[in-house]
């Protein structure tokens, strides 16, 4: 427990101390939130209705997808994991603790957004706080798991950016934050259901914000949790202590299994 506390404390401080992580955890989401609140809400007043869930989802995407994978790849490339292995630090701690500390940073940012949005932008507050918290946790677990998995299977920082952007950019466009899911063409809508952002926005709308969900909101929560747990499981299974390791437990393409809950969801929730 003592080891966990020291490890957690160090990783949490790193989230503020490291300029790149500080940017992804706080500065980028905060800047985007203020910009969207002040500009977008004026241009498009209905955006006020979703500003809280949309900005929370954006914050989660930025902090996890853009913040978690690269430090993992760098640590592996620089021999930090080798040093950890020699000192008996288990792989599960290496993968889970950065995710947990990122979630703690996300809690702080989410509280800031949730408290300030009604005051600054007259945004409606959630009507069901318990569900709001549950959906936040589910989305955070899904994205943190996915990000850790990207960090584990990416051979280099360059590939990390590619994989992360492959999820981040479509999430911004199709995830229901900027354009409501109901306005998407059918094919784009099906593709959007593969994205955690779409599921989170659907669940927020249906279960926390008092609006209509486009499809089963509890199904969305289940998919987020299932994919998050699956992602962490796959990350632990595919984890490699160093880049020169010639023995791998599985092919990196196994990571695509993380999409399975969403694919099943498309058929079950159609």
């Amino acid at each position: 427990m003592n080891a966990f506390i020291h490890h957690f404390t160090f990783e949490f401080r790193t989230g503020i101390r490291n300029k790149q992580l500080l940017l992804m955890n706080y500065l980028f989401p905060m800047g985007f939130y203020l910009m969207m609140g002040f500009i977008m809400a004026e241009i498009n007043p209905p955006f006020r209705e979703v500003i809280i869930p949309a900005m929370v989802v954006f914050t989660i995407l930025a902090a996890t997808l853009l913040g978690i994978p690269d430090p993992l790849v760098n640590a592996r490339e620089n021999g930090v994991f080798r040093s950890y292995k020699i000192n008996g630090i288990p792989s599960i701690s290496i993968l889970v603790i950065p995710a947990l500390t990122t979630i703690l940073h996300l809690v702080i940012m989410t509280v800031i957004i949730t408290v300030t949005a009604p005051l600054l932008f007259h945004a409606p507050s959630p009507v069901n706080w318990l569900n709001y918290g549950l959906i936040f946790v589910s989305m955070a677990i899904a994205c943190a798991g996915l990000s850790v998995l990207i960090g584990v299977v990416s051979p280099s920082s360059r590939m990390t950016v590619l994989w992360s952007q492959l999820i981040f950019v479509p999430s911004m466009l199709l995830g229901g934050m900027m354009v409501p899911y109901s306005m998407l063409p059918d094919v784009a809508g099906k593709f959007a259901q593969l994205l955690p952002a779409t599921q989170a926005m659907n669940a927020f709308n249906g279960l926390a914000m008092g609006k209509d969900a486009a499809f089963s909101p509890w199904g969305s929560v289940s998919m987020l949790l299932a994919s998050g747990i699956l992602a962490f499981g796959l990350a632990v299974y595919l984890f490699s202590w160093d880049s020169r390791n010639t023995i791998r437990r599985g092919h990196p393409l196994l990571a695509l299994l993380v999409l399975l809950p969403y694919i099943i969801g498309i058929f079950l929730l159609a």
């Binding site: 080891a3 160090f10 401080r13 490291n18 620089n78 021999g79 020699i86 000192n87 008996g88």
Partner: protein, 301 residues
């Protein structure tokens, strides 16, 4: 304390280590020498449990590094050649963090001893190369390991830190710690090691005390002589048992296979010429000389 028997490590078709065997006793400082690509790192990494051997057997403190790697963690300390610490960690955090995983109290005294106390809240990337190496060493010994692996421990360190580090190694040895020292610094290996093993082209080509290893070479002893009136400088003067001669900075330098015979003849010659001896130095072949001899000839004993 450490047993290596018919150890073999391959990477695909490349043979990194080809059936080497040696033992290391408890409390011994054992130098592992060899040019780049000789198999030192592969040997160390398999002993540290970082890689899986392809043949033979390894035992470290009575433990198989592959099947009992969890047990091994508290018994060994490793200073890797690369820093291997997160960029943003401070010495204070690193000490608490690593000691917590080894279930021992943080050794802040080691930070003080290695001159890192003032830097205890400085992030790792802001430390100098020497400070980084000192921190990694402090972390490696903090849990009092039975076996300590040091990979190029003094590379990039200033003289004072190097002396301090050697003193720490001796203390660890006195406390019963076995030290495996991989280094390219032959003077360090000769000074610190009780025994050394030389790896060349994936094979073990020589093992023994530094004295034994230097004694098995061509055995040329360097004799440097300076006199008042340069009575030795004539090139035609020859002395018994001398293989090579050169003149450098007013010193007549002889490479001899028999020190006694050569020195005696030189003194006799100086007396006979009425000259006066100013300086006479005798240098046995160093481990570095012998190492270069072995690696350049590529012999496999």
């Amino acid at each position: 304390m450490l047993e290596v028997k018919d150890f073999r490590k391959t990477y695909g078709s490349y043979v990194a280590v080809d059936g080497i065997s040696f033992d290391v006793k408890q409390g011994e400082i054992f130098g592992l020498l060899g040019p780049n690509g000789a198999g030192k790192t592969s040997t160390l990494e398999c002993l540290e449990g970082l890689r899986i051997p392809n043949g033979g057997s390894l035992r470290v403190a009575g433990i198989d590094p592959v099947s009992e790697s969890r047990k091994l963690r508290d018994l060994i300390g490793v200073q890797l050649q690369s820093a291997g610490l997160p960029e943003s960690i401070t010495p204070d955090e690193a000490m608490k963090f690593f000691c917590a995983y080894h279930n021992v109290a943080p050794r802040i005294d080691l930070l003080e001893r290695l001159g890192l106390l003032e830097k205890k809240n400085t992030q790792f990337y802001e430390l100098s190369a020497g400070q980084q190496r000192r921190l990694v060493l402090a972390l490696a010994v903090a849990h009092n390991p039975q076996v300590l692996f040091l990979d190029e421990p003094t590379a990039g360190l200033d003289v004072a830190t190097r002396v301090e580090l050697h003193s720490m190694m001796r203390e660890q040895q006195t406390a019963g710690t076995t030290i495996i020292l991989a280094t390219h610094d032959m003077a360090e290996a000769e000074q610190m090691s009780d025994r050394v093993a030389i790896l060349l082209k994936s094979k073990l080509v020589n093992i023994g005390t530094p004295m034994e290893i230097t004694a098995t070479g061509a055995g040329l002893t360097k004799i440097s002589v300076r006199t008042q009136t340069s009575s030795l400088s004539a090139a035609e003067i020859t002395f018994p048992a001398v293989n090579q001669y050169k003149l450098k900075d007013e010193y007549n330098i002889y490479f001899s296979t028999d020190i006694g015979e050569t020195v005696s003849a030189i003194i006799t010659h100086i007396d006979a010429k009425g000259d006066t001896l100013i300086d006479l130095r005798v240098e046995r072949p160093s481990l570095e000389d012998r190492f270069l001899e072995i690696t350049s000839s590529g012999i496999a004993q």
